[in-house]
């Protein structure tokens, strides 16, 4: 295994892991009734 | 006594009665539209509905169907409205 493959593999692995973790967190938040969108809600209309 | 919906644009009236059980009327009361209050039908929307009514220094939009339930006294002794407009 050369260094290049390791680096690329690491980057891709981190990306995948981060996405999975984020989606799981969103699912958990949705169950608790919170916001499931990725947007952070600041785009919500001013009341 | 006429329903608010039958007023003409620009006409004034004094609110005689409304229906407090309805959500619309409750909102209007919270805004200060209570029996005895003077109101004015400012205009109708370009498509004919809803209405813009003015009372207590504010202008509020109200649908024709909902305005049916608000009975207004249009007899001549309505006080002249304040000169100050929103």
């Amino acid at each position: 295994m050369n260094l290049e493959a390791v680096i690329v593999g690491a980057i891709v692995g981190v990306a995948v892991g981060w996405l999975v973790r984020r989606w799981l967190a969103a699912a958990r938040r949705r169950k608790a009734g919170g916001c499931a969108g990725d947007c952070g809600c600041s785009a919500k209309l001013k009341k | 006594m006429t329903p608010l919906s039958q007023l003409l644009p620009g006409q004034f009236g004094k609110l005689a009665s409304l229906n407090p059980e309805r959500g619309v009327d409750q909102r209007l009361m919270a805004l200060g539209l209570l029996p005895g209050m003077v109101l004015k039908l400012v205009r109708k929307a370009p498509l004919g509905d809803p209405l813009a009514i003015e009372f207590g220094g504010q202008v509020v939009s109200l649908r024709l169907a909902e305005a049916d339930n608000l009975i207004v006294d249009v007899s001549a002794d309505c006080p002249i409205p304040r000169p100050r407009q929103p």
């Binding site: 493959a5 001013k46 | 509020v60 929103p86």
Partner: protein
């Protein structure tokens, strides 16, 4: 959740359109954060306010409302926060009530309701400058005395006047803790409230403060009862008896609260406001034009068209600059990675190319949010709802749905959340179902890319703009019958009440509008920097692997006479084709073939499910990975312009024919619910049934219409 370092919590409450948010910005100096209330999707907007004596408090900006008799879950949050019923948040230590100085009595109705909660109050009379213009003089000393000695401060948040006094007033209120004087209730009503409190307390085992008893007695909505756990069976008799008691002393129980409060307020306000000569307001004059029977809709259309045109045209220059920046970065970074082709591809094509293609559309998003902000702050939004209401009522909705629909053009998710202002659950569901038809900002990049690459060069900028606008209308065209069918036939929605204040026109405060635009942009960029970034990497990996050296050999052997350039291009194409992504795309492609999509487009459509902007990045990856990773490689547009069908009945013809381009855009116009939107829809409708129905309906509709568009146009051209 309150931040540990802020200590004290102050809630900002007031009617809509009082400049409350401007005041909030002035007090917090834009040191704000947005969070969530657990269990509710209303955003928790908070900031740190410096009281001037070294003391810092946390200020929470609550949604504007006219009465604590909440008509929607959003409004319910206000009373929940003030009562301290929000899990994880403490009860506010003081309330800052913001009132419009030009309409004191109506604004104080809410204040007199807040008074029942017994919290220390600071009363701010905002828009004092307008009041002065109108010739009003307010005796704040007298008012303060009448209201129990609470600080009463005149401000003009827009001009930044009076802010210092507010800070001082807050500091004073937090030390002296003077509450607002409460309304004096008739004796029978006091007794009725006591009865309700007693009955509820006995049944629920909880202490019932008088504010809660009032909500139980006077409200038709049952949220307070539900929150207390007072079941319908147990509360029916006591409430009926208590309301009978109220009726016996001459008040309709449903009208008692406003009647008593306003009578009390009229006495309290006697002599407080003196009306002198002032300038007549400009609002009615402007409305004579903007709400004119004929000119009104004309102006409305003009404003809407102007909006789309400016989003398109104004953004062109910054967009080109960003593209240049992206290309330059690629050109600088790529050659240094030459010895490592895999890493080079990841960085140049995957990361820079992919994310860059998405970032390019930042200017358009900025202008979009800016425009919506201006519409809201100026007061025109209410007029737009007023004009549009008739059309909405035809579908069983009301003009309030206009606002979520319009903001759906920015992003479907906050738009879905804003449907919570619609009281009727069926109307809310219908609006939520239709919102995704509004072309959200994630689709901008697709339209813009397609138009800039194919419509503009061939047909000129006029057609380019027209097609852009047209695509936004496609969604609307299908939204209307869908809404109609849904509200009239499927859900059978009752006609909606529509009471909307047409506020005074005001000049939007530039700092506030720009600040909100900045917040939205920061979120857009962080989305690009995070989710899209990660997805782009994953998509790149799926398009790159598996890589087989033998493929290169095979192609070189099969085309011995062709130039090195051509062979290299073929090799690249072959690599992508046999990657995981390519194989998946090819497998699914027959479904989209009648729409004119090739497998790369299919892959883009599929890969963009998690976030629709990703299609541009994906096309960026699949086309530039396929076309070579040269440092100064053409940008995506050129790559697509040159793309031709390699084989099959259309071999040799351009993939991106007019028909295919339009079909793709139409497909995106009608089916662009990204994953988070579907999830939010599921959450807002309380289940997966409607979200799934929405997704399936829209996808099938998109596929059919897209196919029709392609088949028809390909025959005409």
């Amino acid at each position: 959740m309150s931040t540990p370092d802020a200590g004290l919590l102050v809630a900002l409450v007031g009617n809509p359109n009082t400049g409350k948010s401007t005041l909030f910005n002035a007090l917090t100096g834009l040191r704000q954060r947005v969070g969530n209330y657990p269990g509710v999707t209303v955003a928790r907007k908070s900031g740190t306010c410096d009281l001037g004596d070294g003391q810092k408090v946390e200020l929470v900006d609550l949604p504007g409302l006219y009465s604590l008799a909440a008509a929607s879950p959003d409004e319910q949050v206000v009373i929940d926060v003030l009562s301290g019923h929000i899990a994880g948040d403490r009860r506010p230590d003081a309330v800052l009530i913001v009132a419009d100085a030009t309409n004191l009595i109506r604004n104080l109705f809410l204040a007199s309701q807040v008074a029942e909660l017994g919290l220390p109050v600071v009363l701010v009379l905002n828009q004092a400058d307008v009041a002065q213009e109108q010739g009003l003089r307010i005796d704040t000393e007298l008012l303060s005395r009448r209201l129990g000695g609470v600080p009463v401060i005149l401000t003009s948040a827009w001009k930044g006047e009076g802010i210092l006094e507010v800070r001082r007033g807050l500091a004073a209120a937090l030390t002296r803790r003077a509450p607002l004087r409460r309304v004096v209730w008739p004796a029978e009503i006091v007794a009725a409230l006591a009865d309700v409190a007693q009955a509820a307390s006995a049944d629920t085992g909880k202490a019932i403060p008088s504010a809660d008893a009032q909500r139980l007695l006077f409200d038709t909505n049952v949220s307070t009862a539900e929150r207390l756990g007072w079941t319908p069976e147990r509360r029916e008799k006591p409430l009926r008896a208590a309301r009978e008691r109220v009726r016996n002393c001459g008040y309709n129980p449903m009208a008692a609260e406003p009647l008593v409060h306003y009578a009390w307020l009229r006495t309290a306000l006697e002599g407080v406001v003196t009306e002198g000569l002032g300038k007549a307001g400009r609002t009615s004059a402007v409305d004579r034009l903007l709400l004119h029977r004929v000119l009104g809709p004309v102006f409305f259309l003009g404003i809407m068209l102007g909006f789309f045109a400016s989003v398109f045209w104004l953004a062109k220059f910054p967009m080109d600059w960003i593209q240049l920046g992206v290309d330059w970065t690629k050109g600088v970074v790529a050659p240094s990675l030459d010895p490592y082709p895999m890493l080079q591809s990841l960085v140049a094509d995957g990361i820079i190319g992919g994310v860059g293609a998405f970032l390019v559309f930042l200017p358009q998003i900025l202008i979009l949010f800016l425009f919506i902000g201006i519409l809201e702050d100026s007061g025109y939004m209410a007029r737009a709802a007023f004009i549009m209401d008739r059309l909405f009522s035809w579908c069983g909705l009301n003009g309030k749905s206009f606002v979520p629909m319009l903001s759906g053009f920015a992003c479907a998710i906050p738009s879905l959340l804003s449907t919570r202002t619609i009281e009727d659950p069926k109307a809310r569901l219908a609006t939520a179902f239709v919102v995704p038809f509004m072309s959200c900002s994630a689709r901008f990049p697709v339209y813009a890319l397609m138009c800039a690459a194919f419509i503009g060069p061939l047909y000129g900028p006029g057609w380019e703009s027209l097609v852009m606008v047209g695509m936004h209308c496609v969604g609307l065209v299908f939204a209307v019958p869908t809404a109609f069918v849904l509200t009239r036939l499927v859900l059978k929605v009752k006609p909606q009440p529509f009471v909307l204040e047409l506020p005074r026109y005001q000049l939007p405060k530039p700092r506030d509008v720009v600040w909100r635009m900045w917040q939205n942009a920061a979120e857009f960029v962080s989305k690009a920097g995070t989710v899209i970034f990660a997805i782009t990497i994953v998509v790149w990996a799926l398009s790159y692997f598996p890589r087989d050296a033998a493929v290169a050999e095979r192609i070189r052997a099969a085309h011995p006479t062709e130039s090195a350039e051509l062979v290299r291009a073929r090799v690249q194409a072959a690599h992508v084709e046999q990657s995981y992504m390519g194989r998946f795309g090819k497998a699914v492609q027959p479904v989209f073939d009648p729409c004119g999509f090739d497998w790369k487009i299919t892959v883009g459509v599929l890969a963009s499910f998690p976030a629709r902007e990703v299609i541009v990045s994906t096309l960026g990856v699949t086309y530039s990975v396929g076309e070579g990773a040269e440092a100064d490689s053409q940008d995506l547009r050129k790559a697509m312009q040159d793309a031709k069908w390699p084989e099959g009945p259309r071999a040799g013809t351009p993939i991106f024919s007019l028909a295919a381009v339009l079909a793709l855009m139409v497909f995106f116009a009608l089916c662009s619910q990204c994953g988070p939107t579907v999830a939010t829809l599921a959450q807002e409708t309380g289940g997966w049934k409607w979200a799934a129905a929405s997704f399936v309906t829209m996808t099938v509709l998109a596929w059919m219409v897209s196919m029709v568009v392609y088949q028809v146009i390909i025959r005409l051209t």
